[in-house]
């Protein structure tokens, strides 16, 4: 039997070339997998770079929805959700919640009236340690059909070429519709009057293995009161924060968690399309905010409201956004934790 490279004492050139070839091919495969050879790959860093302010984001803060305040309370499941999902957090019972009411945008000191989008991140924890995290916004539909299109839109919007965004919007009426909503929707006087929507669809699996594609919303118990243009213009820059402190101080504030079930053929992968209003809905329980704390040392600050942290019985669907959001939120979390020194804690808080 012969051996590659010949007998002992023959020229090692062939053998050394073989070694070099193996190392180069392996290193090349690694570099390709890492995306270093494919600059067109949509990485989470690119997505975060496009979402965060052009200045690069405020060190120590979330790259989007940077303004926020912590609430704690509970989710009381009424048990009606168990026919749709075997998730333990939908069984009748009361589970602790750490939430974060927030404003869209990368500025942690955004005047409340200037917020184009308001959001609510929640984390519900079960006694078995399972968690259901969700980051919802008050828009009834999203700005782009896919993460790649969202990136294209943000890139066009941030472009120096004024025609770039015009061209994009000309080809994407769904994004134009979202912009119309941002500009025209009534601003309420309180986060407790806002409805927050998952926008993305998820799959509920019931105890018999049946699967149901759903979206969910938090519907406020309070009746929405819209601010007039003048009221908004003259509002205190922190009127939402002041309002939530006052209201929760006076008594628990509530939202109903309502699950909407898709019919066959509904656009489950496209968050720019709301489902028709006649779809079946199930009120699965009540979310109650009982305490408000500043984010600076509050319990929501260290939480990444990653929408793919889900209990057994809930999974992602054919909607590509939750995975992209998870990847992008991770990058935002990695950056802000690495910049921890830049985050202004209050005197009594941790270092």
């Amino acid at each position: 039997m012969s051996v590659a490279g010949g007998g002992r004492g023959s020229s090692p050139v062939g053998a050394l070339a073989a070694i070099a070839a193996v190392v180069v091919v392996a290193a090349g495969a690694f570099a390709y997998t890492a995306g270093w050879l494919t600059p067109q790959r949509l990485t989470p860093e690119k997505l975060v770079g496009a979402v965060q302010p052009k200045t690069g984001g405020v060190p120590g803060h979330r790259r989007n929805h940077a303004t926020g305040i912590c609430i704690t309370g509970e989710f009381t499941a009424n048990g009606n959700g168990t026919e749709l999902s075997k998730a333990s957090l939908l069984k009748a019972g009361t589970y602790p919640v750490v939430g974060r009411l927030n404003l869209g945008g990368g500025d942690p000191h955004l005047a409340d009236a200037m917020a184009q989008v308001r959001g609510f991140g929640i984390r519900i924890t079960g006694p078995d340690g399972q968690e259901w995290r969700s980051a919802m916004i008050d828009a009834p539909f999203f700005a782009a059909q896919t993460p790649a299109l969202f990136y294209q839109f943000l890139t066009a919007a941030g472009s120096k070429d004024p025609n770039a965004v015009k061209e994009y919007l000309g080809a994407h009426p769904e994004t134009l519709r979202f912009i119309g909503w941002v500009k025209g929707h009534p601003r309420t006087e309180s986060w407790t009057e806002d409805r927050f929507n998952s926008l993305n669809s998820f799959v509920f699996e019931d105890a018999n293995g049946g699967k149901h594609t759903v979206r969910w919303s938090l519907i406020p118990a309070n009746t929405p009161v819209a601010l007039t243009a003048d009221e908004l213009k003259n509002s205190n820059p922190e009127f939402l924060q002041q309002d939530i402190v006052k209201r929760v101080g006076a008594g628990p504030q509530k939202w109903e968690l309502v699950v909407t079930v898709a019919n066959p053929g509904d656009p489950t992968a496209d968050p720019t399309q709301a489902w028709p209003a006649d779809r079946r809905t199930v009120d699965v329980g009540t979310l109650t905010a009982e305490k408000v704390e500043d984010e600076a040392d509050g319990p929501c600050r260290e939480i990444n409201y990653d929408p793919t942290v889900l209990p057994v019985g809930i999974t992602t669907s054919d909607d590509g956004f939750p995975a992209a959001r998870s990847a992008a939120y991770r990058v935002s979390f990695d950056r802000r934790t690495a910049e921890e020194k830049a985050y202004p804690h209050t005197a009594g808080g941790q270092q």
């Binding site: 890492a34 968690e131 690495a338």
Partner: protein, 195 residues
């Protein structure tokens, strides 16, 4: 140092060889999954991350077994004619590989714990947090995990190059000590090592 090791073996014991090659596959897969998953926003990110966590814990368990086997069976010695710098590199690399095989999964698990990210494996297995939530700890552990991951891959490349050098140039039986099976020809090379 004796050419046949403390226990007189010319080769690693069969369970050691089995674990070596099994773990080699797992670890290379792991490093590719790790570097690939953080590069994308596509839905496969979630699947890859799930594989990364599950495989990482599997590697941790296998590494503990392997370390125990190493104490039981020890290791065959290196060829007597190996130059001192090569010998040092070979021995040091074993310590580093064991440290990385045990340390990388623990670093990943600890990093996710300090980020209050639930560690859920395939099959819904939920691991407990091994550290309290702390952003500074997370930042430190995450950097260590990333940079040691690159180091691990670079060391594996050097390991492969080194073993190919033993096999193709020196033909001194070092590769055969860990080879899954030994052919007649390889038997001769083992003899050369121990001569």
């Amino acid at each position: 140092m004796s050419g046949t090791g403390l226990n007189g073996n010319k080769r690693f014991a069969a369970p050691q060889r089995l674990l070596h090659w099994l773990m080699a596959g797992c670890i290379v897969t792991m490093l590719f999954v790790g570097v690939g998953m953080v590069s994308t926003v596509a839905p496969k990110y979630l699947t890859l991350f799930q594989i990364h966590k599950t495989l990482g814990i599997a590697i941790l368990v296998l590494a503990v077994i392997r370390l125990a086997l190493r104490f039981v069976y020890t290791a065959p010695g290196l060829p007597r004619d190996m130059p001192v710098p090569m010998r040092l590199a070979a021995e040091l690399s074993q310590y580093i590989f064991y440290a990385l095989m045990l340390g990388m999964p623990l670093l990943g698990w600890a990093a996710l714990s300090s980020a209050s990210h639930p560690v859920v494996l395939f099959g819904g297995v939920h691991l407990l947090a091994i550290l309290p939530v702390n952003p500074n700890t997370y930042a430190l552990l995450r950097s260590a995990h990333v940079y040691l991951g690159f180091t691990f891959f670079a060391l594996i490349l050097m390991h492969v190059a080194g073993l190919m050098f033993h096999k193709l140039v020196r033909k001194d039986g070092v590769f055969e000590a860990m080879a899954p099976v030994v052919t007649e020809n390889q038997e001769r090379e083992l003899e050369a090592k121990n001569a």
